[in-house]
Symmetry: C2
Subunit: 203 residues, 2 copies
DNA sequence: GACAGTCTACCTACCAGAAGGTAGGCTGCT
DNA sequence: AGCAGCCTACCTTCTGGTAGGTAGACTGTC
């Protein structure tokens, strides 16, 4: 499982795109091979099983995600700014192609996916929700938001909305739904919920 | 495509459960046959292709959904009550087993699904969003909600949150996430967003 | 510098099983 | 007799995965 290898990285990249558009059950080693210029059997050299491939993908995604969260904390101080940047991660993923969040797609086909992958899905969301929750707590303490929000519920709601907005947005090929919906949620955290219906407008 | 037939109805029911838990790509005619006590080939008698089965399922779901919306309008007068009942439809679907919204699952595997099904997915969501939007408009006129909400955005956000809450809720096997998140969204529609973090508590 | 041995990164050939789907035959009810 | 509703048998294509082989690069020893 030499993830450093350029071919392995290429396989991971192609597999990620495929899962994001077609789901775990919707792609095959043949699909990868045709794009990677490699025979289907050769993929097993880098990733013994399909489950190993999926797991490697989730590990990669989680690591990258955590790196992005640290980067946000370094770039922005105020909680509101951090949340907007957080939403931006999902916007970026969604914006490039008609791709859904990798974790979202794997979660949809939960019952068809190896148990190790299921654990990694929860791990990813745990990180996302805990970070968001802490961010909201910080905003509440700083007086940026309403002081008596249930940060846990708000955090899980924001994440659910992001995932759901990608799902519905893709069906309509509408890239605006995600920032609009995320913007509405964020606008509810402080006094003026009206008018601000785009996450970009939420400072 | 004799949907009146008891066997056909049984096939539809089993297929619905399977898609809700495993997705469109994740179930086969063999899976259905083992549960229906019928041979795989016999399913083709009722539904010539897998696409036909999926389409019939969506037509059924959409019809049933519209029936439920009418029922809500008959039972509840106030917009807030209607929205709570609307959320209840999704709660009911989710609560029985670890089942996601049928349309949500089909939407996730969009690229692996026939074009006719894709059109039906949008149709379902169009109905859901338009109904919710009209309901919010009504609530705004009646003074139940903030008067200057963007009802289109709020409607699409509520739907996105419901779909996303099912997705994340299932991964954690937590049935509370959906009412909690829906409750938060609904609570944002009027003056007291604090404290009310369960859709049941939102009158 | 030559040789043997080993490792990497692929290949071809193959497997068993599952996929959706078709053709034609049987059975029982009207 | 005719038809609905199912069956068996079979098709092709694809599935993830395995076995064994090979070209070429690298490594250590003499």
């Amino acid at each position: 499982m030499s993830s450093q290898n350029p071919t392995a990285l290429n396989i991971l990249s192609i597999a990620r795109q495929l899962i994001m558009t077609r789901g775990y059950q919707g792609f095959s080693f043949r699909d990868i091979s045709s794009q990677a210029g490699i025979k289907p059997a050769s993929i097993h050299y880098h990733f013994p099983t399909k489950g190993d491939l999926g797991e490697a993908l989730l590990i990669e995604a989680t690591t990258e995600f955590q790196r992005q969260l640290v980067s946000i904390e370094q770039q922005h101080e105020r909680a509101a700014q951090r949340l907007v940047a957080f939403v931006g991660i999902f916007e970026e993923t969604f914006g490039e192609a008609d791709r859904l969040c990798l974790v979202c797609m794997l979660a949809a086909g939960q019952d068809t996916v190896p148990a190790e992958i299921r654990a990694r899905i929860r791990e990813f969301w745990d990180i996302a929700v805990r970070w968001t929750e802490a961010c909201i707590d910080k905003g509440m303490r700083a007086g940026e938001f309403y002081a008596d929000l249930d940060s846990r519920v708000v955090a899980q709601t924001l994440l659910a909305t992001l995932e759901g907005a990608m799902l519905t947005g893709r069906a309509y090929q509408d890239k605006q739904k995600l920032p609009e919906s995320a913007g509405f949620i964020l606008s509810c955290l402080r006094q003026q919920p009206e008018g601000i219906c785009n996450s970009h407008a939420f400072e």
